[in-house]
Structures are given as C-alpha cells and as structure tokens.
C-alpha cells in the first residue's frame, strides 16, 4: 500500500515536478556556464599571472593555463613535442615567429582586428611577422638589452660601453644570462657589427666575435638561468650581467637593489614579444579578444608594469595611458616622446638593433660555440 501511494502520480504532483525542473534549469545552466574556458598559453614567465590576465579572466569567464619557457629555442623545442592544438596562444620572441610559421605551428591572423594604426610606424610591419600581406604574429611588448651593472661597482659613464665587462673592477663578477643570442649579439655590437645587423655577420666577423668573447672568460663569475640572474645581481655576487637589460634590473631596482641598465654607445638590442594563435585551436575568437585587450591602453599599462619583468609599449596610446596611470614608470622607462631614454628616438638614431637568429651561421653553430665558451 505504501509503495503504491509513493508511486502514485497525480496531476498536481506532475505539475509540481515540472515546475521544479523549470525553475532549476537556469541554475544548472549557470553552473555549467561557470566552468571557465581554458586557454593554454605558451609564454615567458609572468604572462599568465593574475596581474596580467586576472581582470580578463574574471570578465570573460576564462582561465589561462600557462606553460612557461626561457629562450626562443626552448619555446620551439616545447611546441615541437606537443600535438597540434595543445597551445591556443603562443607568446613568442619575434625572431622565432618565422620558424613557428615555417613549421606550421601558428594560424594566420586577421590584421583588421588589431590597432596597427596606433602602433609606432617602426613596429607596424615588424620583420618576420608578415608574409606579404599575411599576418602571423602581433607585437605586444618589447624591451632593450644593454649593460646591466651594480651601481656601487661601476659608474654610469663606465657602463656606457660594452667594454665595461672587461673592467678590472668587475673581474670574476661578470655573469652571463645563459642564452647565446643576447650575449653574442652584444659582443657583436662591440665588435662594430651594426650593418646590417649584429646577427648578420660573415665568417671573418664570426671568428672575431668568438675570439672577443673568449677574451671575456677570465672576467666571468657564472652562467645563470632566469632565477639565478635575479638572485646573483641582487645579492651582489655578480656586479655586471651580459645579455640582459631593464627587464631584470627594473624589477630589482624597484625592490631596492643597486642595479641599473644603460644602452651603451655601441648600441642596444631589442627583444620583442609577440602573440600568435596556435595551429588547430578551437578558441580563436576568445584568443583574439585577449590579444586586442592586451593591445588596448589598459592592457598596455598592465604589460608595461608586469610584475615578472617590465616591458615597453609599441602603441602611442599605451604611452599616453602609462603617463596618466604611472608617471614615474613612464619617466623611468622613457615612454615619453622626446625623452633622453625614449626608445623610439634611440631606434631612429640607429642605436637599437632587433635581436635575431644568426643569418650567415646556423643556430647550432652559435649554440655549439656557446657551450665551448662555457667550458673554456
């Protein structure tokens, strides 16, 4: 009897049940909608941290899942090991975009979606990002590599030449950021290889570059990864560091360390970070929305002040925005048109050279020499 009464379905009960289901459905939908879309990002450290992506994640119900790397060839190695579609968004060093494209790792992009009119003219058609009118990558930030030094050990004048690394005041205290491209690029500049580029050198210049680099060996105190570079400069173990710039010392200086970076008279090297869309991703729309967000004045203010390491803005509106949001940082970074450390002015004076892959040697040649130098 009891069973019968429990199973007995009256019209009223049916209506009550239907009403309950109807009322609960939006809640179920909301629960499902609350599951954020996952965006897999391959990037240098810091690009998927809350200070950069937090607001975008909250506003768009997405979650960035980063895989961090250090160095362009490290990035290529990681992506080559992964099946297509693993990464939705790839933050690449600009000089490696062509290789990403040649290997078929990235999607073509739609130029009309991005504010290229707002870019400084030098960056609108950035080398390697375009094949004719086909766009493969969009520059989001850049920075300059020069002489980074301990201000107690060297004066600014002494640091205004790469010869500072050979200064007896820093014997045994010169560190290397352990990546051949920026290190050899800087010493190539010291050797006068400016035209067309410190990375486009013939066999004789390559031999001279190796010889000059080997002469630095007695000065060297160690070779450091990203974390080691920070700590060795901060604790004073290293008094000068080859291959870096404000992206390291800017962070340390904010923390009170007595370090600085200058662009020496021989010129500086520009690192450039660009977004590409991973081949095979199903999230193109939201990825494009994020790239547009990062190129907006608000996004650029975040990028310039990124907690992991600062960067410069390729857009004029980014400069204006940081001048309003943080005038001190705008002044420190030179993001004021006509300032002494205005990076665009230095570029137009011919003092800045894009970091690049070797043009007349292979990456393997440069890397093999770097290994030999370390063990010399």
């Amino acid at each position: 009897m009891m069973t019968e009464s429990r199973l007995h379905l009256t019209r009223r009960r049916l209506l009550q049940g239907a009403a309950s289901v109807a009322l609960a459905t939006p809640m179920l939908n909301r629960a499902w909608a609350q599951e954020p879309t996952q965006i897999n990002m391959l990037a240098w450290y810091g690009h998927a941290e809350p200070d950069i992506v937090g607001e975008f994640e909250a506003a768009n119900n997405v979650k960035f899942v980063p895989k961090y790397y250090a160095g362009g060839d490290n990035m290529l190695a990681l992506i080559s090991q992964s099946p297509p579609g693993t990464y939705d968004l790839i933050l690449s060093d600009a000089e490696f975009v062509q290789q990403l494209n040649a290997a078929g790792y990235i999607e073509q992009m739609d130029p009309s979606l991005y504010p290229f009119d707002d870019f400084f003219p030098e960056f609108q058609k950035f080398p390697g990002h375009w094949t004719g009118d086909q766009l493969w990558s969009v520059m989001v930030r850049y920075g300059l590599l020069g002489v980074s030094y301990n201000t107690d050990a060297l004066t600014r004048e002494e640091a205004m030449s790469y010869n500072a690394y050979w200064n007896p005041k820093v014997t045994g205290k010169v560190g290397h950021f352990d990546w051949h491209l920026p290190n050899l690029g800087q010493i190539s500049l010291l050797n006068g290889n400016k035209s067309p580029s410190p990375f486009d050198i013939d066999a004789a210049a390559w031999g001279a570059l190796q010889e000059k680099t080997l002469s630095l060996k007695p000065q060297v105190g160690g070779y450091f990864d990203y974390g080691g570079t920070f700590s060795s400069l901060k604790n004073g173990e290293m008094l000068a560091m080859v291959g870096i710039g404000d992206w390291i010392t800017g962070v340390l200086a904010k923390d009170g360390a007595k370090v600085d970076s200058v662009i020496p008279e021989e010129g500086g090297i520009q690192w450039t970070e660009s977004y590409s869309i991973g081949k095979g991703t199903s999230k193109t729309e939201i990825v494009n929305k994020f790239i547009t967000y990062m190129l907006s004045p608000a996004g650029q203010v975040k990028s310039i002040q990124m907690a992991a390491y600062p960067g410069l803005s390729p857009t004029l509106s980014g400069w204006t925005a940081i001048q309003e949001a943080n005038p001190a940082e705008a002044k420190r970074s030179g993001l004021i048109v006509g300032a002494d450390n205005d990076p665009i002015k230095m570029y137009r004076e011919g003092r800045i050279f894009y970091r690049d892959t070797p043009k007349q040697q292979t990456l393997e040649d440069w890397n093999d020499f770097w290994s030999e130098y370390k063990s010399a």
Binding site: G71, D73, N74, L76, A77, S80, Q99, A102, A103, G172, G175, D178, W179, H180, V220, G221, G222, Y223, F224, D225, G228, S231, S232, N235, G236, E237, L363, E364, N367, D368, W370, S371, E372, K374, S375, A376
Partner: protein, 282 residues
C-alpha cells in the same frame, strides 16, 4: 627431476616481479635511449634514423671531454671527501654511543632528505654569498671576503650536502657490525689504536665503507643542482651539458649520447667498487 621442477617454478614466481620491473623501467628505456642516439633532429623534431652523426659530434668535441673529466674528477673527490669527513662521525656513532642514541642519531641523518635538495641548495646560496653569514663571521677576525659561491668549492659543498648523511649511515652500519672481540684481541696483543684502525677496523668494515663512497660517487656524478646553482655552471658538468644540448636546438639524440656515456662510466665504477667491496671473500 620430481623435486627440481616445482622448485624452479617457485623461484621464477618470486623473481618475476623483479624481472618485469627491471625490464619495464630500466632495460626498455635504456634500449630506447641507445636507439635515440642514432636519430636525427630536423626542424626541432626527432626523426628515427640510423646515423652516427650524434656520436661523432658529441665525442669529437673537446667540450664533452672537458665536462667528462671534470665530472668524473669531482665525483671521485666528493666520494673520497665524503668518506673521510664522515668517518669520525660514523666511528663515534658505532663505537662510542649506545644503541638507542645511535638509532636516534641515524634517524636525524635521514631528516635532511625530507627537504628538497633544491631548497637546501638555495639555502647554501644565502650562506655562501659574499655578504652571507660565513664571510661575515670570517670578517670579524679580519679574513675574507672569499668567493665561495659560483665556484668549484660551492659545487663541492652542494655535493657533500647531498651525500654526507648517506655515507655516514653506510659507514655506521658497517662499523657497528664489526665483531668487538677482534678489536679487543688486537689490543690485547699490543696493537696501537692506529694499528687497530688500519689492520682490523677498516678491513672489517670494508664493504660499508666502499659502498658509501660508491653511492656518493653515483649521486654526485649525476647531480645537476650543485654544479648549476652553487657552482655557477663554471665550468659545465655532464648534467649541465645535457641541459644545454636539449634546451637549445632540441638535440635529444646528442644528449642521449652523453647520458649513455654517463651510464657506461657508472657501470664501470660500480663494478670496480663492488669488486673492491666483496672481492677476496670466501
């Protein structure tokens, strides 16, 4: 016949897990590693092939041999140093302490392994820095500052941090197992303490002493943390060479050549050490 057959099955059953384990986690990966040394890398991707280029390019470069002899020399030195430094502590634990105190001390020696070695290396970075406590203490008596970090000394401190507790444990077990009547007999026959040590204690504890040194060698030979974070990669060891080879250019096949050379070296040293530990025993 009737008795041997069931016995074989019984033995096989008990040996099978070990064989499967060794096959799955050692022999097969080792075979794959060996095969990989003949592969090619094109556009940052490995492609199966059979070329000798990786062997020629790796073994033909002075960089490899410089790193090889450095790593071998440092590992041998670490093995010897750890054995010598550990011995007084092991001797005290074995002969001068009671059972319960010894057990407590041995337990304390295991405690460092509860913490990641990387964390301990970072702690040494602070301690050995020019502005660190060691140099500050030396400065009070007018010495220093000395460069200890990013040097061979720094790397050796890391190696000893890694292996010393283990070597003490090996030595203590070995020394504690010595028949005390042998020592007493030597003393009764007029042997000096030094003679007792050299002629009785060291030969009797030979197995544990050699195995302790061998484990110290094996662990330091393959250690990456000490030479990188405390030695400043200056100059690179084989483990750093493997990292350099893989992170730049995706040259896993060449890194596999370095790894195989390391494995071959470890086999040779382990065989020699085991012969020294157990050889001549009846």
């Amino acid at each position: 016949m009737r008795t041997s057959r069931p016995l074989d099955v019984y033995r096989l059953v008990w040996r099978l897990p070990l064989l499967v384990w060794q096959g799955a986690f050692f022999v097969v990966p080792l075979a794959f590693l060996a095969a990989m040394t003949f592969w090619l890398v094109q556009n940052y991707r490995m492609e199966p092939a059979f070329v000798l280029t990786n062997w020629q390019k790796t073994l033909g470069r002075s960089v490899f041999w410089d790193a090889y002899w450095l790593t071998l020399g440092r590992a041998l030195l670490a093995g010897v140093l750890a054995s010598v430094v550990a011995f007084p502590a092991s001797y005290t634990l074995a002969f001068r302490m009671g059972d319960s105190a010894r057990r407590f001390a041995l337990m304390c020696l295991v405690v460092p392994f509860f913490t990641s070695f990387l964390v301990r290396a970072y702690a040494w970075q602070v301690i050995l820095a020019e502005g660190g406590p060691v140099n500050a203490a030396l400065g009070t008596i007018g010495l220093g500052p000395f460069t200890m970090l990013n040097s061979g000394f720094g790397a050796m401190v890391g190696y000893l941090t890694l292996v010393l507790p283990l070597v003490v444990i090996f030595q203590t077990w070995s020394l504690a197992a010595i028949d005390r009547s042998l020592i007493e007999a030597a003393g009764n026959l007029g042997a000096s303490p030094g003679r007792v040590l050299v002629s009785v204690i060291l030969p009797a504890a030979r197995t544990g002493l050699v195995l302790g040194a061998l484990f110290a060698f094996i662990m330091t030979f393959g250690d990456f943390v000490s030479p990188f974070y405390l030695g400043g990669s200056k100059p690179p060891t084989l483990t750093i060479l493997i990292i350099d080879t893989t992170k730049s250019g995706q040259q896993w096949p060449r890194a596999a050549v370095v790894a195989l050379m390391m494995i071959a070296t470890l086999f040779a040293v382990a065989a020699a050490a085991l012969r020294a530990a157990y050889g001549g025993r009846r």
